[in-house]
């Protein structure tokens, strides 16, 4: 009954209006404003010099390093999220078992989460410095390296150690989400599987993993968004590397603003960035189908 529906909607308005206003103010308005600025011609200090049509997007498409940056972005997101989830699955399994000192280990796993990402990155960055880095020093003393190596000084090693850092800071959240999922699996199902003759690996694949699916979906999607939008790690650890070989779209936005002083091109890239993360999540949902019920 449409009229009754409408009436109940009107009746609900006073209760949902504050929420709607809040959504409009903190979600829709900024997103709309972002699209709006991407179509304006802005000075380096943000003074509006009139409409720009699609010039900002055109400048972005003509940007030579864009293909490399897009590849970097995919490697960064897929690599960090996949490794994070795999390691977290193992960690969650370990933390689910009862063993002496488990509480301490669980607390230790939280630490990277509790500290600021910028701080963690800076600690790694200086630790890996070839002149005075303590990690480099230790590796030389242990005989792993003959002489200090500039991990953060060349493209591929710098990107790799940044990915390592990103995994390190993503582990706590993912592990705890999966641990919660594990603890929600009823003991009886596991026992039933065992009685039916499923070995540990079979039981894990056919019973535990499917039950973990909702937790995995949440952990993966939130990680994709987080890792995709992560600026501080790459910014801190690879900021001094010239060119665009270690940039993702997110750090490129910052280079457009800071180095090229192109606030408008950066706006255009922000819009693209936003669409890109939507696409990545859609692809994930279509391919992996974490939400299917079967």
């Amino acid at each position: 009954m449409p009229s009754g529906k409408r009436r109940s909607l009107v009746a609900a308005l006073p209760w949902i209006t504050p929420t709607l206003l809040l959504i409009a103010a903190i979600v829709l308005f900024p997103a709309g404003y972002m699209v709006w600025t991407s179509l304006r011609d802005l000075s380096e200090f943000g003074t509006d010099r009139g409409p720009a049509g699609f010039e900002n997007y055109q400048r972005l498409l003509e940007f030579d390093a864009l293909p490399r940056v897009l590849v970097n972005t995919v490697v960064w997101v897929v690599g960090v999220v996949a490794l994070t989830v795999l390691i977290s699955l193992a960690l969650a399994q370990l933390l689910d078992k009862a063993f002496p000192g488990r509480r301490l280990v669980r607390m230790a796993v939280i630490v990277p989460w509790a500290s600021s990402v910028v701080m963690t990155s800076i600690v790694f960055y200086y630790g890996l410095d070839p002149f005075y880095g303590i990690i480099n020093h230790a590796l030389v003393d242990l005989g792993v390296l003959d002489e200090p190596f500039g991990f953060t000084k060349t493209t591929i090693p710098a990107f790799a150690v940044s990915m390592g850092t990103a995994i390190f800071v993503s582990l706590p959240f993912t592990t705890y989400t999966l641990l919660a999922g594990l603890q929600a699996i009823p003991e009886e199902i596991l026992e039933a599987a065992e009685v039916d003759g499923a070995g540990p690996w079979r039981g894990y694949r056919n019973v535990v993993l499917p039950s973990l699916r909702p937790a995995l979906a949440v952990a993966t999607i939130i990680n994709i968004i987080n890792v995709f939008n992560s600026l501080p790690i790459l910014f801190t650890m690879t900021g001094s590397i010239p060119g665009y070989d270690v940039d993702t779209t997110t750090t490129l936005i910052f280079k457009f603003i800071r180095a090229d002083r192109q606030v408008d091109t950066a706006s255009a890239l922000s819009v693209v960035n936003f669409l890109l993360v939507l696409v990545i999540i859609l692809v994930y949902l279509r391919v992996v189908r974490p939400m299917r019920e079967d």
Binding site: F45, T47, P242
Partner: protein, 416 residues
């Protein structure tokens, strides 16, 4: 009935507040900022050294003691952040009244600044040295108030030179290359020439080399990066890198950490600044070093001069008088000389130059007449500088110098 009354009441309050606000405005205007209570100036400065904050606080305290009607609110930011901070403030309509930063042309182009003559007395205005006034003007109108000057010169580690058998200060590029290679060959984590091409200040190192070959980055009308002289200079920089005369990965080495390495005695030669003298004094006074003029292609003298500026933002346009009071006080000979001396920079006013007496600074003062500046009055310069910072280091990764300079030129053209 009830609701009309409420509307009326709200309307009355709004009206009342509006009237009160405009009354304050009138009071302020007619009183010239002195009778209508005290005015607050916002001052945003970067941190040059650990002394900076204390120095400004001292200046403000003494100024406020003399001028009870003006108070000054200080905000200190790091050089890393100040560009972002000021951009955000301007975008949100919250610009400071007085700003200390390197480039002012972008703000002037957006018509945000007072001309210097509006916020300085004639005496103060006449006290600036002419080269700096020129460097602070756009189309003959001065917007920047030169604050400090700095120049580069060659710092040499004498102990490493002795060990490597280098007896004389290198005067030309070829001599520098040969001497640096000898020092590099000492091994043990020692590098010959320190070449910081990381994003922090790559444009400075590149400029020193390019200016040493007669190149210039242009003027207020046109930016010229891709010139034969510059290509030759950058190619020689690449030769220094390729032949192992520099530290590893120059493209990813920032200036500040590299100067620290020189201070620790692990680099033979580096082009550094006046404050480096003070840094060595406090951190490693044992370091046996000497200063020499910058080596150029044919040995003719040149240096990179840098001037930072103060600038006054118009904002609501009602603080001009207070700003003038503060700036005149700041540039008075004793206050200013003390500031420049404590920060280890070079003075930009005639009176301070006469009063200063510091033998350590003499090499730098001697270099100043041959100083070349960035074309910072060109609005496209800040984007060009940014392009230098992101791109020039690629020569250390094997990229062709001509190609890199072409890319930087393209960014400059895009911005102008």
């Amino acid at each position: 009935m009830k609701s009309t009354r409420r509307t009326f009441r709200v309307g009355a309050v709004v009206l009342g507040l509006g009237l009160a606000a405009s009354a304050c405005g009138f009071g302020g205007d007619s009183g010239g900022g002195s009778e209508g209570g005290s005015q607050t100036l916002n001052l945003l400065v970067p941190s040059y050294s650990d002394n900076t904050k204390g120095l400004w606080e001292g200046i403000i305290k003494d100024f406020e003691a003399e001028n009870s009607d003006v108070s000054v609110k200080l905000e200190v930011q790091s050089w890393d952040n100040i560009n972002d901070v000021i951009r955000t403030k301007v975008q949100s309509g919250d610009a400071p009244d007085i700003l200390n930063i390197d480039a002012f042309a972008g703000f002037a182009a957006d018509d945000l600044l007072y001309p210097a003559s509006d916020v300085l007395s004639d005496d103060t205005l006449a006290d600036f040295q002419d080269t700096f006034v020129e460097n602070a003007s756009i189309d003959g109108e001065q917007y920047g108030l030169p604050l400090i000057a700095s120049a580069r010169t060659l710092f040499m580690n004498k102990d490493l030179m002795d060990k490597a058998g280098v007896t004389e200060a290198p005067k030309t590029w070829d001599e520098l290359l040969a001497a640096s290679k000898k020092v590099s060959e000492l091994g043990g984590g020692v590098s010959g020439y320190g070449m910081p091409l990381g994003s922090e200040e790559a444009q400075a190192e590149t400029s020193i080399w390019a200016f040493g070959n007669g190149a210039s980055w242009g003027d207020s009308d046109k930016i010229t990066v891709d010139t034969p002289e510059a290509v030759e200079a950058v190619s020689f920089m690449k030769k220094m890198i390729d032949e192992g005369a520099t530290q590893d990965n120059p493209g990813a080495t920032d200036r500040t950490p590299l100067i620290n390495v020189f201070v620790q005695g692990k680099i033979g030669f580096i082009e550094a600044l006046p404050p480096t003298v003070g840094q060595i004094e406090t951190e490693n006074p044992e370091l046996n070093y000497e200063l020499a003029p910058i080596p150029t292609k044919d040995g003719s003298p040149v240096t990179l001069g840098v001037a930072d500026h103060l600038m006054a933002f118009k904002n609501d346009g009602d603080k001009q008088e207070s700003i003038t009071k503060f700036l005149d006080y700041f540039y008075s000979t004793d206050v200013y000389t003390n500031f420049v001396t404590k920060e280890n920079f070079l003075p930009v006013t005639k009176s301070a130059a006469e009063q200063m007496d510091n033998p350590d600074m003499q090499v730098f003062l001697d270099a100043l007449p041959d100083a070349q500046f960035y074309p910072s009055t060109n609005t496209a310069w800040s984007a060009t500088q940014g392009a230098f910072q992101t791109l020039i280091g690629q020569i250390g990764q094997g990229k062709d110098p001509a190609e890199v300079l072409k890319a930087i030129q393209a960014k400059a053209d895009e911005a102008s």
